[in-house]
Symmetry: C2
Subunit: 247 residues, 2 copies
């Protein structure tokens, strides 16, 4: 028996977690997945994700990989995970991958969706997965601002604590804004996103929707590159990582 | 100003409640609604529901009425409720009704839906609103058993603690069993349902789906009228009151 490399797709309700990344003494998604592998193998095995979601952010299609020596086949391994993971984390798919597959380095794009509740009542059943905004939002202005943000830019104004020597240039090739009944869905696709970036972009688009900023203001903030000029970060609970792309 | 009678439609996530009916010292839906009216009016005002949902059962369309003297119009009153109710209870509609309108006595029918999760993974996002069943269920057998249960019958075998002098005859005119992706929806419509009746009917149909009972067994249990012969009650969390009918 030899070590194999596995790729898995995970969904989770991030409400009660301190984000993806393991932290001593705190419940995290990575930590819960690694705990199951430790139970199975008796030793620590790292689970590497395509990225790190913030505390309270959800996922329907996070991707991760790990190396393991086991007699279980992939479907048995998936069932083992689901049996021992808490009820708010599920492994949807698991399969053997090439030994060189790396969930983060091989990712070529990501889709995030931010959901806003705009109804007349209250979102009783999905209250933990939406941001409730009572004001009516101007979708045309939001779409114009989204047009300013799309493309390859330095997104320094739209991230938290950019590292000094790290590039803040990213390509966001689509920001789709769709009204669906009482909900508004903002779907972002890009080659990668900086820390808090989708939530700051959402906060910015909502500020435009409320008339607090114009699409031209957004273009100027992008140009200026100063985080303090961009609006506040939207709450974590409305955000979900939908899909990670690989070649 | 005089007292007016109001009709409202309420949705709630019943997870953390001891059911609809007020009970001293316990969180109930009726209790939370009455607490808002007491806050508004300064005195106790009874909120009368179309029926009583069990602890842990949800609703998208519970109906209730109450009498109140207020300067608020119906829409202001609805907003007042939603402002002071907890986030897992919402008033979807509220309007003035005829002084004779009574949510329970005037109800002519009810629709309940029971949702079963049958997927390969785990229902991470709606885990509090479904019953997860791993075994594959035989839908044709379930539909045949549903056919035996439809119509006017004495449902004494399918209710909890029937009162000695109360009729257990009800008419269930439709039991619809529908596979929707990873979910199975059992939708019941009838003139009224006895205590735990929808959950016992669901438990019975699931037992048929697993091959533990035949549709003929179900007909015999209905005929016999003995609760101890019918299968266990399905868990509360999968059940939702969808709609109450009025003439």
């Amino acid at each position: 028996m030899s070590q194999k490399n596995y790729k898995m797709i995970i969904s989770y309700d991030g409400t009660r977690y301190f984000g993806w990344e393991h932290q001593p003494g705190k419940d995290t998604i990575q930590g819960k997945l690694e705990a199951v592998l430790e139970k199975l193998s008796g030793s620590y095995i790292e689970v590497l994700g395509a990225g790190r979601t913030d505390a309270g952010v959800h996922a329907k299609g996070m991707c991760a990989h790990f190396s393991l020596e086991t007699e279980l086949d992939a479907e048995e391994l998936r069932r083992y995970f689901n049996r021992y993971l808490p009820e708010d984390i599920a492994v949807k798919q698991l399969r053997e991958a090439s030994p060189r597959f790396h969930a983060r380095y091989n990712a070529t794009g990501k889709t995030y969706r931010y959901t806003i509740y705009q109804g007349e009542s209250k979102p009783v059943f999905d209250r933990k997965f939406v941001w409730t905004i009572d004001e009516k939002l101007d979708l045309e202005a939001m779409r114009a601002a989204a047009g300013e943000l799309q493309g390859q830019h330095d997104f320094a104004a739209f991230c938290k604590a950019a590292g000094k020597n790290k590039s803040t240039v990213r390509t966001v090739d689509a920001i789709d804004i769709k009204a669906k009944g009482e909900y508004l869905q903002l779907t972002f696709h890009g080659d990668g996103f900086l820390r808090n970036m989708v939530r700051i972009l959402t906060g910015t688009l909502v500020a435009v929707g409320k008339g607090e900023l114009t699409p031209e203001d957004v273009a100027a903030i992008l140009e200026e590159g100063d985080r303090r000029q961009a609006p506040p970060t939207a709450p974590a609970q409305g955000l979900c990582l939908i899909k990670v792309d690989y070649e």
